[in-house]
Amino acid sequence: MAYQSLQEIVETGNSRSIPFWKVILLDDMNDRSVTEEESVDTMKKMWSAMLEASDQYEGTMLSKSRLVGGMGAQMETYRTSQEPLCGDFMAKVISQALQMGESNACMKRIVAAPTAGACGVLPAVLIPLYREKKIPDEKVLEALYTAAGIGQVIAARAFIAGAAGGCQAEIGAASSMAAGALVHLRGGDSSQIIQAAAMALKNLLGLVCDPVAGLVEVPCVKRNVIGAVNALSCADMALAGITSRIPPDQVIDAMKEIGESMHVSLRETGEGGVANTPAAREIAQRLGM
């Protein structure tokens, strides 16, 4: 049975002297009646699928609506030829987020994390770090368990679908998961993990789901960037010892409350917000939607 509380995961880990990720691994073994090896093998599959998806990016492809495509490549050209304001590492994160989001829009194979629309956030922070800092695979798998555990609590306490709770439930949840994963990779402890997760989610509270023409393209692809960049800054804050003044579980509950009061036009119906601009209406009409 999935944990209903981040605090509870931390306490379980502390009482048994095991790290956050291990609590999630044990819970998965119990939940699906699998061995440690089987669980880890499945996680390995997810990780290699993420790496493969990253390798499969093509800068020349366009989505069927032609709304997205090529941005990941543009960002790469810019990164390698000029001096990005964010610095080289952050620019790599931005490229990776765009690339994964575009691959998804172009019907390439990706890993939903927690959804397809938000599939770029986690790989955007993990892949550049993995490649640059040569982090061992086991450590990345631990980080993925950490992320999954956070996502599970968000799904249990609130939701992880734009249709249910707006984009805060997709990009917000993904960012929260990524922040926790990063803290683990950099040696933070369980309470720092959930602090990072809380801050990342809190920063994206209220984000609505307003996809143009109902397609997972605009604004989705670029929102993966904010999810990733936000995760990095929140992980750094948590590692610096900064905490969320509101306890992590309560932040999730706030996300739920906000999502429930969000108007239906802002919950993946493609009717409000960015989707309701004249330009978006024109696009929708052109596409016959």
């Binding site: 599959k45 019907m107 194979r109 890993v111 397809a116 986690l122 996502g151 799904a155 109902g214 997972v216």
Partner: protein
Amino acid sequence: MSIFDILGPIMVGPSSSHTAGAVRIGYITRVLLGSPVAEAKIGLHGSFAATGRGHGTDRALMAGLLGMQPDDMRIPGSFEEAEKEHVKFSFHDMQISGAHPNTAFLEVRGTSGKELKVQASSLGGGRVMLNKLDGIEVNCACESPTLIVRNQDKPGYVAEVTTLLTQHSVNIATLNLHRDKKGGNAVMVIESDQPIPADVMERLEAMEGILKVTYLMSREEA
């Protein structure tokens, strides 16, 4: 939700509900049909009709009908694949009252000549619900190993089937019974904790009055 519903599924984009879920609906229909699809008429309801084509829902459903899984890279080219295999197919918009916004209605005929009508909806995250089978409500998530037994609506079948499963140490998680009318056709939907052994399937199929037995494996096995 398991952690691999959060990190996962591995899928062809762009949408877990409109693409991955749609592949799964097609795939389940293909398994239920029991033979390759020769012809398919596919109705799209609600959001499937409104934004489905932009999400590749149509291609995804077809891919599933051809036996592809949500992570199959051939999904975007499923129409071409279907033409190559001489599968006749068409799509139309429809309204099904009271149905979930992401619902498809598939009328299929197999190469064996067998026909089947399936109504299913995509619930998000790639999870689906099989709503109706030939007009009979079944409401099955098809997540755990699922046995769908179609039989004549007469006393005794439930006892016989469950006894057989118990003898083979298969634990029943849920059991639902549905029928079109009293004394007509009935459907038993049994979700179990363990996979169903092949010889159990054979014995079920041999029972008198049982019209058809279909076994859907859980997501990981399938």
